[in-house]
């Protein structure tokens, strides 16, 4: 590994110090009683349009995204750009579905998707399935954020053996855990503002400076091997790369706002109008993500993969080292410090929100439902604070002792699992038609089939579905959520006919979904 880059490291540490202070100071921001779960875990639902923009932006466009999407472009080419259609098609869902969910959650004091499903369908086992899916899908996601920190710390030239090698990561996580515990969702919301300003500065500086250094976009794209520039044109009797590209974009979009951390960000907004406005404003991040994907090509054109000074980094982190190497290669040390701090802090924001979201789910839909049905408000928020710590320690242990590859594979499975909550949550916002047990069976079949399909293709995202003489390679999450829906729809009339008991009471009324 190269020598320690002292200038960059100093800037990096200073910026980390700033956000640490900010994270603790955030407890006093829009002050509320942090002994109430909705104050600690949803910031009192007091974030306006702008703060929500930063919070959801920091939540969705994570440090790992900023490392992994360009890394995919660097390694595989055009397919990495699926992130752009993906982050285009999510916003109609955000605009249409989630203001309704916000309204009903506000009206009934729901904090999680499990709370909503419990109220809507009156089935605590279905709510448990939603909560467990959310927690399990979130854990590897938190672990992946740590990979983002590991890569930039390594790129700063810090290396060591044994515990010393992991020390920066452990310090970063101790800081994260402490301010999340004390300030709740207000901490990542305030830090997200600093982080995004740094990220935007980095992205725009890079998109202007690097193409000039490399002699223009024409030269950059000329350096990329032709087969990487476009999707492979499908052969006869298959939808080929087109099918997997489109279904990956659509399935990722459908899954995104089902993740507990996305929902936490949305529910903390102060009004359903703030959410609708954000559906028009959040594409600002999508645009930046598209620019960042191009960094993978910049890295190819700059030839960083072949430079001896970065060989050790690529050896240790693989293609995930492409962006750090590009930044080191193209910018003076002080700016590298700013850019790496942006990525490192960019890992802390979503990791904090994810751990809060998982803690909310555990507290509301597992602990309160199955262990202690009548906690005091103070007790409830205390449990959530402890669970947020446990979740983070779990993620840290995972990343320190288990190969990174497993976290990536689990995160892929997580996407396939979380989408199975779509019928209960996203369709539940519109209709109470489905039978609760039919939904639960549909969920189980979706999870089972999705996991089996993923294993059958060695934990890749696309499965070559064969129908007659045609093959449709596509994102497993999309195929299995369709199966899930069909099963839920077919079983609903069957279960309704078999069951003599009346359907459980729906706590929500049609008017609760409207502003």
């Amino acid at each position: 590994m190269q020598d320690v880059n002292w200038v960059a490291l100093t800037i990096f540490v200073l910026l980390f110090g700033l956000i640490t202070w900010l994270g603790f100071a955030a407890a006093h921001w829009r002050r509320g009683d942090l002994d109430l779960l909705h104050e600690w875990g949803l910031g009192g639902r007091r974030f306006g349009t702008i703060v929500t923009w930063f919070l959801v932006g920091g939540d969705v466009y994570t440090a790992y995204t900023f490392i992994a999407v360009p890394a995919l472009a660097f390694g595989a080419g055009a397919v990495a750009f699926f992130a752009v259609p993906y982050t285009i098609v999510i916003y109609p869902f955000l605009f249409l579905v989630f203001p309704r969910l916000w309204n009903v959650c506000r009206k009934h004091g729901y904090i999680t998707s499990g709370d909503f499903v419990r109220g809507r369908f009156g089935n605590r086992w279905l709510a448990l399935a939603i909560a467990v899916t959310g927690i399990v899908a979130t854990m590897p996601y938190i672990a992946l954020q740590l990979v983002g920190i590991q890569v930039v710390v390594g790129a700063l030239g810090i290396s060591g053996t044994g515990i010393a090698a992991d020390l920066p990561l452990i310090i970063a996580f101790a800081v994260l855990a402490a301010f999340t515990y004390s300030s709740g969702l207000r901490a990542p919301a305030s830090i997200a503002i600093v982080k995004d300003i740094l990220i935007y500065i980095t992205a725009f500086a890079a998109i202007i400076v690097i193409p000039i250094e490399l002699g223009g976009f024409g030269k950059i794209f000329a350096a990329v091997p032709t087969q990487k520039l476009l999707l492979a044109v499908p052969g006869p009797n298959t939808t080929g790369a087109y099918g997997s590209y489109a279904t990956l974009a659509l399935g990722s979009a459908l899954a995104l706002f089902l993740y507990p951390h996305s929902l936490t960000g949305i529910l903390s907004a102060s009004s359903s109008h703030a959410i609708r406005r954000n559906a028009a404003m959040l594409p600002g991040y999508s645009f930046m993500l598209g620019l960042l994907a191009l960094f993978g090509f910049f890295a190819i054109a700059a030839g960083v993969g072949k430079l001896p000074e970065y060989a050790a980094g690529f050896k240790q982190f693989g293609n995930n080292f492409a962006v750090p190497a590009l930044l080191l290669h193209s910018f003076p040390s002080w700016f590298v410090g700013v850019a790496f701090a942006a990525i490192g802090i960019g890992a802390l924001v979503p990791a904090a929100i994810m751990s809060i979201a998982a803690a909310n789910l555990y507290t509301r839909n597992i602990h309160r439902e199955f262990i202690n049905s009548n906690p005091t408000d103070r007790h409830e928020s205390q449990i959530a604070k402890w669970v947020s710590l446990i979740v983070k320690v779990g993620a840290l242990v995972f990343i320190l002792f288990v190969p990174t590859e497993y976290a990536i594979q689990l995160q892929l499975l997580g996407g396939i699992w979380i989408i199975q909550t779509l019928p209960s949550v996203m369709l539940g916002v519109y209709t109470r038609w489905f039978n609760d047990w039919a939904l639960l069976l549909g969920w189980a079949c979706g999870i089972g089939t999705g996991t089996a399909m993923a294993i059958a293709v060695n934990l890749k995202s696309a499965y070559p579905l064969a129908l007659g003489s045609w093959t449709f390679p596509g994102y497993i999450a999309v195929y299995t959520v369709i199966l899930n829906l069909v099963i839920a729809a077919v079983l609903t009339p069957v279960f309704n006919a078999l069951s003599a008991r009346r359907a459980p009471v729906d706590q929500t009324a049609a008017a609760d979904y409207l502003a």
């Binding site: 982050t87 285009i88 098609v89 605009f95 024409g218 476009l230 489109a246």
Partner: protein, 68 residues
Amino acid sequence: MTDSHTNRGGWRWWHLLFVIQFVAVLWPPFYNSIEPRWIGIPFFYWYQMLWVIISAVVTAVIYLVTRD
């Protein structure tokens, strides 16, 4: 369009505009080509980036016209 005002917060015809961006970006045959380039950037890339902007504008328009 008369019932769009009575149907507060529910379905509106304006929402059909969202379909355009789904079709435009989820059908790769439309844009899987190098030419025409723009400032050296292949069509595949600038087309999808352009749709980020168009979709944001469309969403803003839908927000403004359906706002109560």
